[in-house]
Amino acid sequence: MSESNKEPGMAYSMPKLHKIMAILSFIFLVTTLWVFLDDYMRPWKAYQVEALKIKRRHLDEQIKAAAKEIDSTKLAELNAKLKKVEEIVQSRKSDIESAEKDLKVIVTKFKDQTITNGILNGQVGAINFKYETSLSHKDPKAVTDKAFNKLQELKARFVKGKDSLKALQAEEKVIVTKITEYKKEVTRTEKEIKEITNKLNLLELAKKTTTIDPVFALRNLPFIDFLDPTIKIHQIVVNNVTDDRYFRHVPKVDRCITCHTFIDQPGYEKEVNPHKTHPRIDQMVGLESPHPMKQVGCTSCHGGEGHRVHDFRSAAHMPDTDKQKAEWITKYNWHEPHKIQQPMLTKSQSEASCVKCHSGVELIPGATVLNEGRMAIEKYGCNGCHKIDGWEHKRKTGPSLLKIAGKVDKEWFKSWVWEPKAFNKHTKMPAFFMQSNNSKPEFAKLNMAEVNAIAEYVWDKSKPYEANEKYTGGNAEKGKELISQVGCMGCHGVDGLEDNSKKVKAYAGPWLSGLGSKVKPDWLVSWLKKPWHYQEDTIMPSMRLSNQEANDIAAYLLGLRNVQFEDLKFAKLNLADQDRVLLDYYTAFDTVASAKEKLAKMDSREKTLELGKRSIGKYGCYSCHNVEGFDGLAGIGPELTKVGSKPAGQFGFGIHHDIPHRRDAWITAHLQRPAMWDDGIDKVFKDLNKMPNFYMSETEAKKITVALLGQVSDVIPLSGVKRLTASETMYHDGMKVVNKYGCTGCHQVDGLRGDVLNMYMDDINQGPPRLVGQGHRVQTDWFYNFLGNVQPIRPWLQIRMPSFNLSTEEKNRIVGGFQHGSKQPTFTEPAESVKWIPGEREETIKLWNALNCVSCHSGGFTNDVALAPNLHLASKRLRPTWIKKWLTNPQAILPGTSMPSFWGDDGKTPIETGYFGGDADKQVEALTKYVIELGQK
């Protein structure tokens, strides 16, 4: 623009300003539109549209199925009928019309009367108030009386009015009935048609809500989508479970269902995520499951950012496998969540969260991985060194060392401590030495000094032990057989019986290997006969072995030798090394000079014992073994109660950059090789990582990881946690004793464990009895006495119920636990004497004979080998109600039992119709009476 175009007083020419204004306004407008778009385009919307299509597909299928169900000929018939009856009704048209006219008159009168009554009602109320007020104000009688009279008059009118209303109502009803009567054929036929088509109609109606039409588009248009959108964020607000925001706990808000559209609806199991039904809908999420979605939410179990729906990553999804990870990276541009308090637990870890709410329970039914993880923690005794709240009642994992000198040789002990796996490759005892961080010669020789000192200390403190039995030699072959028969395998793996050992995967006791190179023969026999003679608090039971049996078993076990290990000679104690290690301890709080001075004052023996004690403390031996002088000391490891909430940044990953810097990855890696964090780091001897190596498999480490991930700091409000009732507490307390003594190594309790049963897959009836509803089955007194004084019930079994060294309290807990688990009263004994109606007993005996009960239950009847318990003992042992239940359908209680289900799968099918008219209930009742009577004679 040239100068001449400008008006005077203008710095710029107007057209130029307009042009700039136009350009800037254009940019402004575009950015505004961008704002709308940016706000509108959300990934979750696509999922919901997709879900709509899926739902439509499902509905189409259902509609097809429903249409097929409809009996079309019948429908056509009904439709024809409808036409016919409509004609009939049509013929009564004049009647109907006149009735409707009458009705109209009545309705008008009714309305008129309602108005009159309404006015009267108000007047009655007002006068009544006036009357009552004047009474309470103690007005003159004349005033009160006047009001009272007026009130009575009004009330009388009101009552009359109400009466005429009722009369009108009655009239109305008569006419309405008349009209219905006129139309009844049509109404009835219409109802019949509706009954047939109802389901289809409902489905069609539901299908309408899935159409994608202009109205759908309108509803979900930008800006308009606040009115009544169909595509929207769905959320669950869980007041019972909170998110920890440190200053405050706030109710959990989970919006996962925005994309996981059908998670709580059965029928979508075959869709792909996110449109899949929850795989365990009966347990989780489902409306009728114990954990309904609206009460529990999603992230309470799965972790992750439930309130974030921006995209796939923002919810902190975590892949379960490398394959899934790769898939997600391509599909969602996934990366490890950053700055996230609690990323989602991977699919295989989600059981971890059960622990958050289910406290006071050792094994949670259904949580397989978690249970195995927790059992592994107990097996390896992690809880010994690492405190975990709620695990305080657990016993020390390892054997007591209080009388160790009476059991093993000191040289053996040293070599054992040095490298346990060299002696027994199955041992649970971890390796402290010769690890990647302490195998350097200069460290190893110091370690050797420590091991020498530990042995000296333990032997010094060991109390004398005299075996109370003598090994007299026995038949090793017979011993081996006994071991696999009497039940040792329920707790122990045994060399030479590897097949069965692997099947059972025994859990409570050590794997028996090389005993001949380890223990003293007399000690072994004595131990087998009466374990608590050596260690009072052992859970090892007595199998009530005869002397011969004990010697046979000992013969076999002593025959197991580890010659290579026997040849090991542990290095003698090096005094210089001893000084060197002790100096480390003394200089911790002292100068080198005065520490040395202190050392110089001690003699060699003193030094050794001092170092032994220090070393036991250092390595935490006392956490698993009873050692004199360490009573009541806390474990040496960090507490794990809240390890699941420990920020990932607080785990030291050392130089290991290949391990994902996550809580779970660290724990799994740590469990497999604890010393790894010292890799490549220059540490002095006293600072070395002391966590021993359990040589755990990755699977096992991952299971423990799951159990530990559940140990979170989240405080679940009392209203949200599973609070055990008094009865449930009793049950779980009982189960703690059951687990402690390894009962579940042999008995399957209500479906849980029963490890040794794996040996009896051919004939489950040869294995230890499965305990289902045990609290209902046996009488309380009998059960208590049985635990204290075991009497064989099933003579045909080779496996034996052992005698445990149970305290009174423990016996009571077991009995009470089972009783409450079955929700039974403490005492339900059978009546003193059985009452028969005349003739009943005779008929029962006939039935008894017909069923030929004694063919198996021969005890006390014939001399045949019994294949079932002695029924003469039943009335003392079993509860009458249970006998009935058992008789009715034993297979339902113990599938595969040799006891036949006489009355079929429903327990009702009549048999032996000659007796009691074939009535199953009566027959069962009669047999129950008879069995009780047997015991009372």
Binding site: T209, V215, L218, R219, F226, L227, D228
Partner: protein, 260 residues
């Protein structure tokens, strides 16, 4: 009145002079300067008709309304230090204001001041009407005044909810239920049922004006927050701007009214 002693010394300091550019307002020049030179006082004209300073004529209700507005701003700001607009804390904080916060009548001054402002603004309008001061050239300013009156009522209304007691939520429930009946825009008002296509309900309790006001279907925590923001920030800002316009127009339309 040249002053002497200490007063004079103070007045002669550089600090004093830097703040007050003129001498004591005891002569014509300085009386003009004190008004013109002070950012707050220069709302006033330097000189005005005598009727404009007579209480009998003006009743000073407009001025008092503005003063009470300022007083409410100050007390309100102070109250905000202790008050949290959440369902958990609001009520307890109100109790705290009475029980342990220093100057325990702060809330009372704020509340009674709010009522007083409603009264003064009404009487101000009454006076303006009675003197015919809405007539040209002041028509526009009367309109601004009416809007300010409405905003004053809204300020008081939004503040009413904040104590979060029974009085508060039920008064607001009753008050906001009227919004429900807004024709076409409230779900209980005439015309609302026309705005629907099939099951697409365009005016319902989830999207009508009352929902916008309350942030929910009933008076709940979102309503508390919304009313708090409206009460403490949004309406005061608008009122402040309109007051500025109102005053500006008073000056531009010929000062305080007087017979033409």
């Amino acid at each position: 009145m040249a002053g002497n002693g200490l007063a004079k010394k103070v007045r002669d300091t550089q600090v004093w002079k830097s703040i007050f550019r003129h001498g004591p307002p005891d002569n014509a020049r300085n009386r003009a300067a004190v008004i013109a030179g002070n950012v707050f006082l220069h709302l006033h004209p330097i000189k005005l008709k005598k009727s404009g300073v007579q209480l009998g004529y003006t009743w000073c209700m407009g001025g008092l309304t503005f003063f009470i507005f300022l007083a409410l701003t100050v007390t309100g700001l102070l109250l905000m230090f202790y008050y949290r607009p959440t369902a958990e804390y609001a009520f307890n904080d109100i109790i705290a204001l009475r029980e342990h916060v220093p100057l325990g009548i702060m809330r009372e001054i704020h509340r009674w001041g709010a009522h007083a402002m409603v009264i003064t603004v009404w009487i101000h309008m009454f006076r303006v009407f009675m003197t015919g001061s809405y007539k040209p050239p002041r028509e526009f300013n009367w309109g601004i005044g009416v809007i300010l009156l409405v905003l004053t009522l809204l300020l008081s209304f939004t503040g009413y909810l904040l104590p979060w007691d029974q009085l508060a939520i039920w008064a607001i429930t009753v008050g906001s239920n009227m919004a429900k009946a807004t024709p076409f825009a409230g779900h209980g008002g005439p015309g609302a049922m026309l705005a629907r296509i099939g099951d697409f309900v365009m005016v319902s309790d989830k999207n009508d004006v009352r929902f916008q006001l309350l942030g929910g279907r009933f008076v709940g925590e979102p309503a508390l927050l919304r009313f708090y923001i409206l009460h403490c920030v949004f309406i005061p800002l608008v009122v402040g701007v309109l007051i500025a316009v109102h005053f500006w127009r008073v000056r531009k339309d010929g000062g305080i009214s007087a017979p033409l």
